[in-house]
Amino acid sequence: MAYNIVVLIKQVPDTKRITGDAMRDDGTVNRSALPAVFNPEDLHALEAALELKERYGGRVTVVTMGPPMACEVLRESLERGADDVVLITDRRAAASDTLATSYILSRAVRKLDAEPRRASAGCCAGVNLVVCGRQAIDGDTAQVPPQTAEKLGWPQVTYVECVEEVAGGRLRARRNTGTGMERVECPLPCLLTVTDQAPAPRPPSAKRIMAVKKSRSRAEIERETPDPDQARARAEALQAHGLLITQWDLQDIGADLAWCGRDGSPTKVKRIQSVVLKGSGFKKVEPTEEAIATMVHELIEDHTIG
């Protein structure tokens, strides 16, 4: 039995490389000063999906929501072995919080679920499994996957380290509960989140890198080729070679705009403060008894100690 697997991924700013330069004076983050990367745990999610495909057959479709630049992580997914990729891009999706994001992603999964070609590829009908990384390193919330599962009405299995087996419409996995390990069996369709303890991602294949190098989404083509006629011709040529990246907007996935973007987001950012400490922001304490006693006294006074 082969399976249709969808992997939800995110392109994130590399928060590990944040320096003072990436922070503006008003405390907001200058995203353009940071390299954008494939969210690390999403690479493990892709690997888990590819391994299941190798064992049982099927298709791996990778979906991301973001600006056209997010196609970089879609191309990387193709290089690592994904069959199809989909970019969801729409200005009206900007400023979506986790709830609005999960709504949009669930609409995209629903659209894939209804595609007839997925039923004819020797697979179970529809989407059988969604795999996500546990959390993204820019927000670290881990909320989007459970919220997406709820929107789909599917069970979720979080913090998976190993998918043991899929058989008889059920999936068996080992998950880390934080206090120990738990083995669970879950009916399909379902949604998994995997941690960085799941098998390490395979490197992109050199052959595939060459093969998908030219792939582009329409949004990228429009940016790179300003002349509309030339852009159309280029898109048609890419499509003929199977290199046109599927691109959907909110209308394509039948999303209700009231549940997307800023309007669809119950949480609002009230204030952002930078906590990047630019060197010499600390109080220098001399290694003397008196200076150390003063420091300890201050820590007791502000309730840090005791």
Binding site: K16, T98, G139, P146, M181, P266, I272
Partner: protein
């Protein structure tokens, strides 16, 4: 969707595993007490499981005015769907204005499921909560006494304050160990409400095949104070000083990867990207140069004291107090000062 209910209680979802209450629920009750008093409403603890009403007294002693105990044999072992179903039903019925959860693996699995079902806002991993007013920049609409949800983001490089003005209840998960856990007040009295959810097997999609508990040697996440040693400590013998300073503060001992790789301390004590991420009230880094991988796991500590012989060590960039000196002299002076003051 739940309408804004200004008279609604403040709720704390108290997590329990195998008959044991998780400390984070008790920590949240102390913060919840402050919030409820500011708002002039009751503080309710919700506990779910097979046999959980027996935890009511302890929850009341830690600040709850009322305990809702949802008991069903099918809730004996946690799984997402039935817990979310029961909690949604309780929230729809009682309309609390605030619901807070521990940001434990369980809380981070449950809370988003509930938030999605209720179409409510949820803020993850808060390090502080407060009550305050808010003006929405777009509409200029003013909202009184909202829950201010304060959390680090962007790998700890920014602190964001989040509000949910319109869609209630206002919900947040809160990191373990960031709120104080005061002693129980055994004179407190409160009300206990038992709730029978009447679940059926169809509410439990997962089959739990087996589960094992891994005993951790140390719970760094829950530690309020951590004293951590790195390569600069120099030897296993010298590492004794780290333990001595930790003991004088009632703190946990932590370590950088270099110290773990040298075999001076067990891997369970490792702080950083490949170890545990901590955000204690105080982090004392001794002989730790402060590579970015280490800083990623500790830079969110509220106060950082760095002790290092090298004045150019990057750890000083994130420190609040920096001592350039020999730890063999500095640590005994610190222990001395702590003993005199406490």
């Amino acid at each position: 969707m739940i309408e804004a209910n200004r008279k609604g209680d403040v709720w704390v979802v108290a997590e329990q595993n195998d008959g044991q209450l998780h400390d984070v629920g008790l920590e949240l009750l102390s913060k919840g007490r402050e919030l409820a008093e500011t708002l002039g409403v009751r503080l309710t603890a919700v506990v779910m499981g097979a046999d959980v009403a027996r935890h009511a007294e302890r929850l009341i002693h830690h600040g709850a005015d009322r305990v809702v105990a949802a008991e069903d044999a099918l809730l004996a072992h946690y799984q997402t769907n039935p817990y979310a179903k029961v909690l949604c039903r309780l929230i729809e019925e009682h309309k609390p204005q605030i619901v807070i959860y521990g940001a434990t693996p369980l809380g981070r699995d449950l809370a988003p499921r509930v938030a999605s079902a209720l179409r409510a806002g949820l803020t993850a991993d808060c390090t502080d909560l407060d009550i305050g007013d808010h003006v929405e920049p777009g509409t200029k609409e003013k909202y009184d006494r909202l829950l201010l949800q304060i959390r680090p983001a962007f790998g700890g490089n920014i602190i964001a304050t989040i509000v949910n003005p319109e869609r209630w209840p206002q919900m947040a998960t809160v990191r373990e160990g960031v709120m104080r856990l005061p002693d129980a007040d055994t004179s407190r009295r409160g009300e206990v409400v038992r709730f029978k959810p009447d679940l059926s097997a169809a509410d439990l999609p997962l089959k739990i095949l087996d589960h094992t508990k891994t005993a951790r040697k140390v719970n760094l996440k829950a530690a309020r104070i951590i004293v951590a040693g790195g390569a600069g400590v120099g030897s296993k013998e010298n590492f004794r000083l780290i333990w001595d300073l930790a003991n004088s503060l009632g703190a946990a001992a932590g370590a950088s990867r270099a110290a773990v790789d040298s075999g001076w301390i067990d891997k369970d004590h490792q702080v950083g990207q490949t170890g545990t991420t901590v955000r204690p009230a105080l982090y004392i880094a001794v002989g730790i140069s402060g590579a970015v991988q280490h800083r990623a796991g500790m830079s969110e500590a509220q106060k950082i004291v760095a002790i290092n012989a090298d004045p150019h060590a990057p750890i000083f960039q994130v420190a609040h107090y920096g001592i350039v000196g020999d730890m063999n002299r500095v640590i005994p002076m610190m222990i001395d000062a702590i003993k005199k003051r406490v």
